[in-house]
Symmetry: C2
Subunit: 322 residues, 2 copies
């Protein structure tokens, strides 16, 4: 059976093989090489390749588009790190911290156009459909990032707002990767749309899982310090759900969120989350979006074995194994 | 005869007619509307429309692509203003100054994708050719901006480096506008390339003219304070040419450039430029690139009247009328 990890390994090599100009322009291209060499899961391009193979044994025709999706993803990280003032990324200095704001902006812009060029390498008959999917996705990602930033200074954010934001910011990119792979594999428009929905729902489940891990995860495997969202007053699934429930626990949570950042705040808030049973509620929500992803998958014309392969991705990303 | 000013008026309306989402996403789209409503010459899209009309009476088919070129141009201004720390643009606050760095970055990113979407509205048979021209141009513009930034801290910049930089940063966009218009008008590949060269050379002449106006222009029509390049130690055509000439005047110029910013510095440097006859040398260079633009134009299959219309643009932009 196909395994996402096989595609991740192929993508890792494909991304490292991207050659960029050097010489006098190394100030533009070195930050790009650095960003692309920083690893990460290569989840999005791997899903694209697996979709291309599943619908038409076409992974070999999909490498450029897969690389385009990965370059796009990394472009958003370069600019997000400036906007969020983040100095680290995947355990190393961010491009913003290492080369400054101007390099992060301009090398990021270059990556967006490079990504578009890679996407354009599909064959003529697919060009418009693939590009439309890519461009619409990009707009949704910017809209999601804008909402995410606006949420920081808003007290009126609801759970619905939050779900919309992560659908835009996270879901749309994973959805577009799956859809583009399907299109390159020769999928019907209906199947391609179902694969978009699969990726979208997987992305939402994955993002809520990330919020859960931020509180209840294991710091050695999570890759970030536990409690970061609490200390940064981030509008996470947990804090918004805790607010929505109402009653004295919600009031206590709102008060606890006003504590100064630090270990005490993380402990107090976590204790309230536990009292409100938010860990289990959150895991139910992850399971619900995972089920939606699998339901979309079931309605495609993929073989049972290929469906199983994509179902395994959902379980791997949202399952018990952290 | 066709006149560029007729197309500018049409573009002004077309750009103002672009409708963008509002509501909760006004934080993303309001800076874009603001930037697009700030006027400017609309030179690039007007050239695109005039080329489409000249080769095939196709301006009506070229409006989206023309709008795409204008949105792209304004995207570069949003990001350039962050990188150059510029608080004003066309006599108003820059987006960066009005809404901050994050808005300028993210609304700029959105404009780049919107521009690509507008470019994609050409008919299927033209899609790949037009997109390739657009994407390659975008990469050159980023490379030019990178070189321009790197020049600020380099003492080794030559006139050749400078010409390369303005070809990338300014020439390529005007060249691509002319080429895309020609392609939409049904021009042959050879004619489209010649129109690219016309626009490229026009762009170089135009940029050197801008450097000349910065010293010898009239502040009421130039739109910027005279002597800005001198006070900002910008590597302009004049200062690089003055350095290249060598001899005691070059030494005096290098010394004068070390003076503190202010009226005295502008006066002293201007006097040395005059002594070195740099105004006339600079005007010769503008004339030389204008001649190259017109030479490219002559080798196209356009009618004499259409050639005349494009020649008038060169004369209007680089001629005696400031």
């Amino acid at each position: 059976m196909r395994r996402i990890s096989d595609y991740s390994a192929q993508m890792e090599k494909a991304v490292r093989d991207i050659t960029l100009p050097g010489g006098v322009l190394s100030t533009l291209y070195e930050p790009i090489s650095y960003a692309l060499a920083s690893g990460g899961k290569r989840l999005r391009p791997s899903l694209l390749l697996m979709a291309a193979d599943s619908f038409g044994d076409s992974a070999s025709k999909a490498f450029s588009a897969a690389a385009g999706i990965e370059v796009f993803h990394n472009f958003t990280l370069l600019h997000d790190d400036v906007m969020d003032n983040s100095s680290t990324r995947r355990g190393r200095q961010s491009v913003f911290a290492k080369w400054g704001v101007n390099s992060a902006i301009l090398s990021g812009d270059t990556m967006l156009t490079l990504a578009t060029q890679l996407i354009c390498e599909v064959e003529d008959s697919l060009l418009r459909g693939v590009l439309d999917t890519f461009n619409s996705m990009a707009i949704r990602v910017y809209e999601g990032q804008r909402l995410d930033m606006d949420f920081e200074t808003s007290e009126d954010v609801t759970l619905d707002d939050y779900i919309r934001m992560i659908m835009d910011k996270t879901g749309s990119l994973i959805g577009a990767a799956c859809k583009i792979g399907a299109l390159i594999g020769g999928a019907s428009e209906k199947d391609a749309e179902k694969m978009y929905e699969y990726g979208m729902m997987l992305g939402v489940a994955f993002q809520i899982q990330d919020d859960w891990l931020d509180v209840f995860g294991d710091s050695t495997t999570f890759g970030k310090p536990i409690g970061g969202d609490i200390n940064n007053n981030k509008k996470s699934y947990l804090v918004l759900k805790g607010k929505e429930v109402g009653g004295p626990d919600s009031v206590a949570l709102a008060e606890a969120m006003k504590l100064p950042s630090g270990e005490t705040k993380v402990k107090v808030v976590t204790r309230i989350y536990e009292k409100m049973n938010l860990s289990a509620i959150c895991r139910q929500e992850i399971a619900s979006y995972s089920a939606k992803a699998i339901s979309a998958l079931k309605s495609t014309s993929l073989s049972d074995e290929d469906k199983e392969a994509f179902r395994n991705v959902v379980e791997k990303l949202t399952g018990r194994k952290k």
